[in-house]
């Protein structure tokens, strides 16, 4: 199905199943521990051996030789394969770090060997007996140092945010110089790791030339292709199966060393191999969100109108890597006639920087929304009002392009009312509650909407059961449920009559899960397949004209037939793909939010505790308010982590992330998250797809950090521009103690 004109009325508009806060259809499997995650799939193939990965102890250099004598003699060892046993594997299309093979070391904890043994403990113990002779080389590990000579560099996150090396509208410098009110600030965001619950894990089995990987992966088709490239085999011979994923956040968009080494280990041991990356190597072995240094300049007139806005960002990556696109949202979020965007990229020798939830916008909004707060403060204008005054209903770089839907102003207004924003004292450091200094902060939320083609197959059997098959993944977001809701709505069935099968590369290729594009595109693919199935049903039943599918019945021309009857003579199967025209070019498709935060800061110790959070989101049709709310509160929680604690600490001498486990890389715990509220504005976006939906999973994150930083400023009068905002950055400016 080609989607190239705005959606008209269609069966989804009935909203009998879609749009309801349905419990997850896979919820019981999750809560009873019976959802099969990759590492637990003991039943899929017999005789599984265990693999364990050895990570490099140096960040840059070469391996001279391995001494495997002790490891090979260790109990239970079946096979050892080292990176010197094969030439460097080709890189897949999605990544820049080499996964295995050859002597060169690009980054710390790069996989350099796999040990396969009868038990996990034996594999781990034998791995520790491998002796490695390294030739260490000097590397580039400090972004602040490398940033000084970093060249201009454009790029795309591949997830909806992008920017050219430099882009100008009007005359930024002239307008900024002339502006009566100016902000010129530098912000930094640190490297972050995804810290998902389930580590990267794979079971690999060969059957002749055919390789099956039971794995944990967000993007089945990408990864099937990349595995084939890595291993130098035909994609026809690769099957991936990933029905359940214990979190990914972008860290599992790609094939990682677990999949490749499980396959290599299985070939060497001539047995299926299961392998999970151990927690301490995940941060350095896989991808991470790169650190940024961002400079923002805002010039405004006294009436609060922005006349000049510039956002420049520098990040680092391995050779051939891409920049963190932190300036992307600044192209679209606020009005202003004179604009400048620039990105610089430093070549570095830290692990690969790549997508993490809302790449680009997440760190970009952490800077932009504090700069907006600083501008509002200088102007003496309420920060909600300042944002409203600078709203734009069209692309500021190309005024012919309107936003398909843009309710930022409504989000801000409704949020301000619901949050009690009028009680905020605009003068900082005025509200005291015992030992706590209390403040409120606001930020806009912004994330682009991406259209990606997506296919699905639907089957109708003689019992009236509809089965959906697509290689779409459910990364914990509720995909199973919204696909079931879509098929149920289209076929006029209760949700219990729909079965959803996901994550198998033998199924039609979907949009996959990333960039908050999963929900709209994958449901639209199911919609397209269901339109075809409805045609087949009507034809089989001999119904013509306006055919209605409701309550398990198919009606037309005064006749009513049970849906199941259409498949009595044999199963009906329909498959289709939603494909998009240029509706996302002619109009700008984005999602909007307003984030409000109340934070308290201990006047003695500087400890920061968030007290209340509210997100008001406008993101097209909400397919399942319960699942969507879970997405947004999860994202808000991640925003608290980014604002207050998450930071991969770089050892600038040895070139690695030091705090590479969950004890030392802190993410929020329950006690950090007292009260969260989410409001979705009524919105349908006929430009996005027949579902008229967009995504919320990243919108819920973008802006949260800025709102927290602004609340801390309102509480204390202290402006921290280097994330995370930890207490040590406040101590010297807190009130004197008695």
């Amino acid at each position: 199905m080609k989607f190239d004109t705005p959606a008209g009325a269609n069966p989804i508009d009935r909203m009998k199943v879609v749009g309801k806060p349905t419990d997850r259809i896979d919820g019981k499997l999750k809560t009873t521990g019976t959802a099969p995650y990759a590492y637990e799939r003991h039943d899929v193939v017999p005789n599984q051996a265990y693999g364990y990965v050895l990570g490099s102890a140096i960040a840059k250099g070469r391996i001279n030789r391995f001494d495997l004598a002790e490891a090979k003699a260790a109990p239970g060892v079946l096979a050892i394969v080292t990176t010197l046993d094969m030439p460097r594997l080709k890189r897949g299309q999605q990544n820049i770090a080499y996964l295995f093979g050859g002597a060169a070391i690009q980054h710390y904890h790069q996989a350099i060997a796999i040990v396969v043994a009868e038990t996990f403990e034996q594999a781990r113990a034998a791995t520790a007996l491998i002796r490695v002779d390294y030739a260490r080389e000097r590397g580039r590990f400090d972004l602040a140092t490398e940033a000084k000579t970093a060249p201009l560099f454009g790029g795309s996150s591949g997830e909806g945010s992008s920017a050219p090396p430099i882009e100008r509208v009007g005359n930024f410098e002239g307008a900024f110089e002339a502006a009566p009110v100016k902000v010129d600030s530098v912000y930094t965001t640190p490297d972050e790791t995804h810290a998902m619950m389930e580590p990267h894990a794979t079971i690999a089995a060969w059957e002749g030339e055919k390789l099956t990987l039971w794995t944990s992966n967000q993007m089945i088709a990408w990864s099937k292709g990349d595995v084939a490239i890595n291993l130098g085999i035909s994609p026809k011979n690769v099957r991936l199966d990933s029905p359940f994923i214990g979190g990914g956040f972008g860290g599992k968009l790609f094939v990682r060393s677990d999949a490749v080494l499980a396959a290599i280990g299985a070939k060497a041991a001539k047995r299926p191999v299961k392998l999970a990356l151990s927690r301490p190597i995940i941060a350095n072995n896989t991808t991470h969100r790169p650190a940024t240094i961002q400079r923002i300049r805002i010039g405004a007139n006294r009436d609060g109108k922005i006349t000049a806005i510039a956002h420049e960002s520098t990040s680092g990556n391995l050779p051939d890597g891409k920049p963190e696109t932190a300036v992307s949202q600044t192209k679209l979020l606020y009005a202003g006639e004179n604009r400048l965007i620039a990105m610089r990229l430093a070549e570095m020798d830290l692990p690969e920087g790549n997508a993490m939830r809302a790449p680009g916008e997440a760190p970009g909004m952490m800077a932009l929304e504090v700069a907006m707060d600083e501008a509002a403060e200088q102007l003496g204008i309420d920060p909600v009002e300042f944002r409203i005054r600078n709203d734009t209903q069209f692309d500021p770089e190309d005024p012919k392009r309107r936003f398909s839907q843009r309710q930022l102003v409504e989000c801000l207004r409704q949020g301000a009312t619901r949050f009690g924003w009028s009680r905020r004292n605009p003068k900082p450091a005025q509200i005291r509650d015992g030992r706590w200094l209390v403040g409120m902060g606001v930020a806009a939320g912004f994330r682009n909407n991406l259209l990606m083609k997506s296919a699905a197959r639907v089957r109708l059997d003689g019992r009236g059961i509809v089965t959906v098959e697509t290689d779409m993944t459910d990364i914990g977001t509720g995909t199973y449920t919204i696909l079931a809701q879509t098929a149920a709505e289209m076929m006029g069935l209760p949700i219990e009559r729909v079965v959803v099968k996901l994550g198998d590369s033998d199924f039609p290729v979907s949009a996959g899960s990333g960039g908050q594009w999963g929900a709209n595109n994958s449901t639209a693919g199911v919609y397209a397949a269901c339109v075809k199935l409805r045609e087949q049903v009507a034809q089989r039943l001999g119904l013509t004209g306006d055919v209605d599918f409701t309550d398990g019945q198919v009606r037309a021309g005064g006749r009513s037939v049970a849906l199941a009857d259409a498949a009595r003579g044999g199963e009906l199967v329909a498959e289709d793909t939603i494909e998009y025209g240029d509706l996302d070019k002619t109009q700008q498709q984005s999602t909007f939010a307003a984030h409000f935060v109340e934070a308290a800061v201990d006047a003695f110790t500087g400890e920061i505790r968030v007290r209340r959070m509210l997100a008001v989101c406008a993101a097209g049709r909400i397919l399942n308010p319960k699942a969507a709310r879970s997405q947004v509160i999860g994202a808000m929680t991640m925003g608290v982590g980014a604002a207050l604690m998450e930071e991969l600490a770089v050892d600038k001498r040895f070139g690695f992330f030091v705090n590479h486990d969950l004890a030392t890389y802190e993410v929020p715990v329950h006690a950090d998250i007292p009260y969260q509220e989410v409001i979705f504005l009524d919105e349908v976006d006929p430009m996005s797809s027949p579902m008229k939906a967009k995504g919320v999973g990243e919108l819920g994150l973008c802006g949260v950090g800025g709102a927290i930083a602004n609340a801390v400023h309102n509480a204390t009068g202290i402006r921290v521009r280097n994330y995370p905002i930890t207490l040590d950055k406040l101590l010297d400016r807190l009130p004197e103690i008695a």
Partner: protein
Amino acid sequence: MRPFTYQRVSSPAEAAAAAAQMPGAKFIAGGTNLLDLMKLQIEAPAHLIDVNAIGLDRIEKTDEGGLRIGALVRNTDLAAHKKVREDYAMLSRALLAGASGQLRNKATTAGNLLQRTRCPYFYDTNQPCNKRQPGSGCAAIGGYTRQLAVVGVSDACIATHPSDMAVAMRALDATVETVKPNGSSRRIPIADFHRLPGNTPHIDTNLQAGELITAVTLPKPIGGKQYYRKVRDRASYAFALVSIAAVIQRDGSGRVAVGGIAHKPWRVETAEAELPRGAKAVAARLLAGARPTEDNGFKIPLVERTLGAVLSEARA
């Protein structure tokens, strides 16, 4: 994890005898730290002596009017004990500020004292660490040191002791009771139990090889208002940046021990004389000779300010 042999013992005497027979053996109780370290091969004992069944799981009054806490009393039970909550409130608070409910259910009194440092370089076996591998050097010095020690450090090691419980016990002048492999017992004041790193950071305590902790005793209650104030980046389940265990008496005198800043619970008795003059004066004495790094210099003002918070609450 390296292969090891394992035995269960049923009495302290049997435990001591087992330790005498198997040099290099380790006692295991809750295992909440030891097992993690064994998985990473930071600890690789050839033999484990499981002491969970030797009793020592009671809390009893002593003849002096204090409490004897059996070595195997679980952290959860100790924190919830009526006498502890009434008379040694800071100990209860310190325990509840540590770890998680699940870990406290397993962790024991003796094991808590014997926790090893959480220095990230200690945990990364690719890195040199004098505590893990004597003489290999210290990667932490000059590296990422935000969590690490500011006082009592050496050129060999700047690790901290992670326990909260031990900090409260230090302020309470607890005594550690032990039995040696030869069957003799001794009492070690908590002040002398943990060591500073010096040139031997691989030795955390003054226990001898095979010496088993049997109990911790607390002197009779000292009254006063008791505090345990733990400061960290998130609200729960994190080790202290700085923690303060304090008793403040009605006349303004008191005791102060500090966690998160040294290789052992940090207490300087002479600093306590400054309590009537306020937090700044106490902190200046407590932290005299401190050698912070660029990353952890904030702990100096943080100790003062956290103590200020405690004193302010005590005055209220």
